[in-house]
């Protein structure tokens, strides 16, 4: 345990997303720390699920910048999602999701998803090969690495793999990929740190249950090295076969997953294996088809078509998976991340498609522990780099957060795995602006309110309100419908709120503003 950080950021607890009058940021920071200490014992249970979207996902049709719809409609007229169809998120008026992603929307509204905007790395590659390698290995664009970032993490955490495993402490595969072959991301110094399996029920039958390989030493030639490698694969797979079979038999899915959805099929297996008691740290699943150079949307209805179908699979897959884990009572142990080798161009081409781009948003989701639901802001579509979206967050900052804030590893381990120190992206941390001015606020009337409240201020600036949250006196966030008239004027319905005192916190024009609201009838 000594290698681990004792201070955990990603913990449960009712945390308000912004500090407001009367409560200092420090006080919240303190309670977060106390809260986290209580859950350290569970750190070892945590699981990470990677979801690869192969081909370069069009992030701009997945996470839609509602604050820039005119530019958005202009640069991708033939594939732009209609504003009226966008799936809306609570607490924000400026960002929405693709209409097919209602599952992720619901998880987001439950506070279980963080949208990390514009993830990439300096001098991004637009080659599928190179960009995938960079994401898999965690390399910089001018650097080549031959091991995967997860492979290095697992190699550090479980030294001596595969010779010393399975062990009493780690009887299960370190990582499992639901596939026939494993990803470069899981490649350790000698071999893959993962077991590839397609069907946990038949895996043991397929690989056999006893090792029947003669242990002859092989020559140090290309052939000899590959032969040793293949033998090791045989031995390892046979050794794990029993554990996998047992977990598959014990684990039971508790929700119906969508059919005809390859990603859901894979996640269903992952849920079953976790439920079955596997202590595997990393699961890896993938879905292809995102290289949408042409006809990514339907000709007449841009909300349907090839890309919509892919996003629907992703969204429904993740939603079913998290629902399943929740019913199993283990969702708090599981976090996941989606990623793709690059985003696509901001502007579409004439074939209703998009060419290779750079930065794109990704999702981090977890049964508990998500504290910052937006990392970064909508990309500025009026400030593009050669028609591609500029980077805001380095992908290795996301990796760093998963390693430290989620998996509980030390900063030094993260630095060593990622070859450099990257500040963790704050999905699992409170983000409190240091420059808040408690005296500047906005007009809110009537107050006390009965059914509706007007919210107005010139301070909102040209971008209007970026996010709005209502918090009750117990610190619980409550959901309210908000309607926008223009950048400086909004109407909020409080019909659904019980009588009481609330804090309304808005984020606008790079400031956080709060006000007290009384609901009385």
């Amino acid at each position: 345990m000594k290698r681990r950080d004792f201070i955990q950021y990603a913990t449960a607890g009712v945390m308000t997303p912004v500090a407001f009058g009367g409560y200092s940021a420090n006080a919240y920071g303190q309670s977060a720390l106390l809260n986290s200490l209580a859950s350290v014992a569970n750190v070892n249970d945590r699981v990470l699920v990677l979801i690869q979207l192969n081909g370069g996902n069009d992030g701009l049709n997945m996470v839609i910048p509602l604050d820039q719809m005119s530019v958005y409609n202009n640069i991708r007229a033939n594939i732009a999602i209609q504003e009226s169809k966008v799936a809306r998120l609570t607490n924000t008026l400026v960002t929405g999701l693709h209409p097919a992603m209602t599952g992720v929307r619901d998880l987001f509204n439950e506070g279980k998803v963080s949208i990390v905007h514009s993830v990439s790395y300096p001098s991004a590659s637009q080659s599928h090969f190179r960009a995938s390698d960079i994401w898999f290995t965690g390399a910089s664009s001018n650097q080549t690495l031959t091991t995967g970032w997860l492979g290095r993490y697992l190699d550090t955490e479980f030294p001596g793999y595969p010779e010393k495993y399975p062990s009493t402490d780690m009887p299960d595969p370190l990582a499992v990929q639901i596939s026939y072959i494993t990803s470069t991301a899981l490649l350790g110094p000698e071999q893959s740190m993962a077991i590839a399996l397609q069907n946990p029920d038949t895996f043991a039958t397929l690989v056999g249950d006893k090792v029947s390989i003669d242990p002859t030493i092989t020559a140090n030639t290309a052939a000899g090295r590959s032969i040793s490698y293949i033998r090791q694969q045989q031995v390892t797979s046979v050794q794990y076969a029993g554990q996998i079979k047992a977990a598959a038999a014990k684990g039971k899915n508790m929700v119906a997953y969508p059919t005809g959805n390859s990603l859901a099929d894979q996640l269903k297996i992952v849920a079953r294996l976790i439920h079955g008691g596997m202590r595997t740290k990393v699961y890896y699943v993938s879905i292809g088809g995102f290289d949408t150079h042409a006809t990514q949307t339907d000709a007449t209805d841009t909300s349907i078509g090839a890309h919509a179908n892919l996003l629907k699979q992703v969204s429904e897959g993740i939603k079913s998976f998290m629902d399943d884990l929740k019913l199993m009572g283990i969702d708090k142990r599981v976090a996941g991340m989606t990623f793709s080798e690059f985003g696509r161009r901001a502007g579409s081409n004439s074939a209703r498609g998009t060419d290779h781009g750079q930065a794109a948003p990704l999702f981090v989701f977890a049964g508990e522990g998500i504290k910052t639901q937006f990392v970064g802001k909508n990309p500025n579509l009026s400030d593009l780099d050669n028609n591609t979206i500029k980077m805001q967050t380095d992908f290795r900052s996301v990796y760093s957060a998963l390693l430290t804030d989620w998996l509980g590893e030390t900063t030094s381990l993260s630095t060593s795995v990622l070859n450099k120190s990257y500040d963790p992206a704050p999905m699992f941390r409170q983000t409190v602006a240091a420059t808040e001015d408690p005296f500047v606020t906005f007009r809110m009337y009537p107050n006390p309110a009965v059914d509706e409240v007007r919210i107005e201020s010139e301070l909102f600036g040209p971008g209007g309100i970026q996010s709005l949250r209502v918090v009750d006196m117990a610190g619980r966030q409550v959901s309210v419908p908000v309607e926008r008239f223009n950048n400086s004027s909004y109407r909020m319905s409080v019909r659904g709120l019980p009588i009481g005192n609330y804090i309304v916190a808005v984020e606008a024009n790079e400031r956080k503003l709060t006000n007290r609201l009384i609901v009385n009838r």
């Binding site: 056999g208 030639t221 290309a222 052939a223």
Partner: protein, 514 residues
């Protein structure tokens, strides 16, 4: 230059087997015998001899081809399967030639898939083009492929028009098809190449009323401005042209520009090296083999035969350490095993032929080599991704490889009452001393494996696999008994033991090597 020196001795049996395992889809024992004693240049003449195009695939119902007919939506899925099976049949039944393996190489280089193109006639046409050019001139190959209807569809070249560029083909032409990322071309070069390529389109796609499939250059959709390339191409400008020949002229100009870069020949030669010789390219190999072989390619104006001849006749290729250095692809493993035992596919296009083809495709698909259906334009992962040929191997795929060889041995690949698998007893009967287990295992493993087994391994095969718990002389008694009075029961008693031996040998790591 020493590594590329021609090896001019007559081939030993081991060397002949090495050459045939690498250059073809796998030899029979008779072919190894035929090539033993030949000098490499004579062997290469045989392997690279031009051959007429094979007759096209046919519809099982009519036994007539569908490739010259209008599109038929109802039968489309079947036609795609016939096409894929037809290609597998050519691989299985091919005589001693390098052609079908080269066709696999180039189809995985210029990837198009049925899943995306969705017109089997288009893919037939492309495969035919690949086969024609498979040992030919790379310049003409690239030019023809750029205008190939299936490729225009697969990489959206048909949607690339002036002022509304689609960069898909312009990028992959450089990254995957010609020069690679080592060419250091820029994003602006991708844009410039894309503009050069504007205006091409296919006609006849999925047309049910006419069988014509053509390619047209639409001059009015072509970007006629000059296209300036970066320092990676010596700041060359492809002059903008107008009129009906503009597309061809600019395409040729650009292809020549790319071919002038030394990296282009290296890029292709490295890929050939990984496919045919060994997957690891050390700095030594780069300097002493890749570079001079790339020069052969350039000096011969990108003709492939001189390159293949130099490669397969080199000292380096016959270095003992190259034997068994490559992990066999699923098709090499399965089709190579069938060919080793002289198993032929039935008449192309018949029902049992397609049953066999469907079976092999299903096995190849689960072993991650879905025929004509690479999941991305890069081709099968083991030919480019980190880990290279080791990517073929996982707990899963190893088990699936064994599943195939188990079924092959047990005789469960059976259609229309014909079994497609070796009769282990007949195979052993053809050995020089089948009654001596030591000789039997030694000879058999020398034939089957690219790398020789150690004595301890052969002992293991005899004492733990062939005759577990029995003294070795029991084999001679049983075998002689069977040979003297062959009946079903006696045959079964030796066959069960031999099948166990075969199954085990096929499951050994050594069997995965080429």
């Amino acid at each position: 230059m020493a590594w590329l020196n021609p090896y001019s001795q007559p081939l030993t049996a081991v060397q002949a087997a090495h050459l045939l395992r690498r250059a073809t889809l796998g030899p029979t024992l008779a072919q190894v015998k035929q090539f033993t004693g030949l000098k490499p240049d004579a062997a290469l003449k045989l392997l690279l001899a031009d051959k007429p195009a094979p007759p096209p695939p046919v519809d099982v119902a009519t036994m007539k081809t569908f490739v010259g007919l209008p599109f038929n939506l109802d039968l489309q899925g079947q036609h795609a399967n016939y096409l894929k099976n037809w290609w597998l049949g050519l691989m299985i039944n091919e005589d001693t030639s390098a052609r079908e393996k080269l066709t696999i190489f180039w189809q995985n280089h210029f990837v198009s898939t049925y899943a995306t193109v969705s017109d089997a006639r288009y893919l037939y046409r492309q495969l035919d083009l690949i086969r024609q050019h498979s040992a030919g001139n790379f310049r003409q190959f690239v030019i023809d492929m750029t205008k190939d209807p299936a490729m225009l569809r697969y990489l959206n070249g048909n949607q690339n028009v002036a002022n509304k560029p689609n960069e898909n083909y312009g990028r992959e032409l450089q990254e995957l098809f010609m020069i690679g990322l080592g060419g250091n071309y820029t994003e602006d070069d991708v844009k410039a190449a894309t503009r050069v390529l504007t205006g091409w389109a296919d006609t006849g796609f999925r047309v049910t009323t006419s069988a014509d499939i053509t390619v047209a250059f639409r001059a009015n959709q072509h970007d006629t401005a000059d296209k300036k390339f970066s320092a990676a191409y010596g700041n060359y400008t492809v002059k903008g042209k107008t009129g009906a020949t503009a597309g061809d002229e600019e395409l040729a100009d650009m292809v020549d520009m790319i071919l002038r870069q030394p990296e282009t020949a290296r890029f292709i030669v490295r890929k050939l090296y990984r496919f045919y010789v060994a997957t690891e390219i050390t700095p030594d190999i780069e300097t002493n083999f890749i570079e001079p072989l790339a020069k052969v390619y350039r000096d011969n104006k990108y003709e492939l035969k001189p390159v293949l001849t130099a490669l397969f006749s080199s000292d380096h290729f016959y270095d003992e350490n190259q034997r068994g250095a490559i992990i066999r692809s699923p098709l090499e493993l399965m089709i190579g095993s069938m060919r080793h035992f002289g198993i032929k596919a039935p008449e192309s296009g018949t029902a049992p032929f397609n049953q066999l083809g469907d079976y092999i495709r299903a096995r190849a698909r689960e072993q991650q080599m879905d025929v004509f259906e690479q999941s991305t334009v890069f081709g099968y992962r083991p030919y480019y991704d980190t880990g290279l040929d080791r990517i073929w191997i996982s707990a899963n795929t190893l088990a699936l490889r064994s599943l195939f060889t188990d079924q092959l041995t047990r005789g469960s690949i059976k259609y229309n009452n014909i079994t497609y698998g070796p009769d282990s007893v007949e195979v052993v009967k053809a050995l020089s001393m089948p009654n001596d287990p030591d000789k039997l295992v030694e000879e058999l493993t020398n034939q089957l494996f690219a790398v020789p087994l150690l004595k301890s391994q052969r002992d293991f095969l005899i004492d733990q696999v062939l005759l577990p718990g029995l003294p070795r002389y029991e084999w001679e008694l049983e075998w002689n008994d069977y040979v003297k009075n062959p009946n079903v029961a006696r045959k079964m008693s030796v066959k069960i033991k031999l099948d166990n031996l075969f199954i085990f040998m096929f499951r050994m790591a050594e069997f995965q090597m080429s």
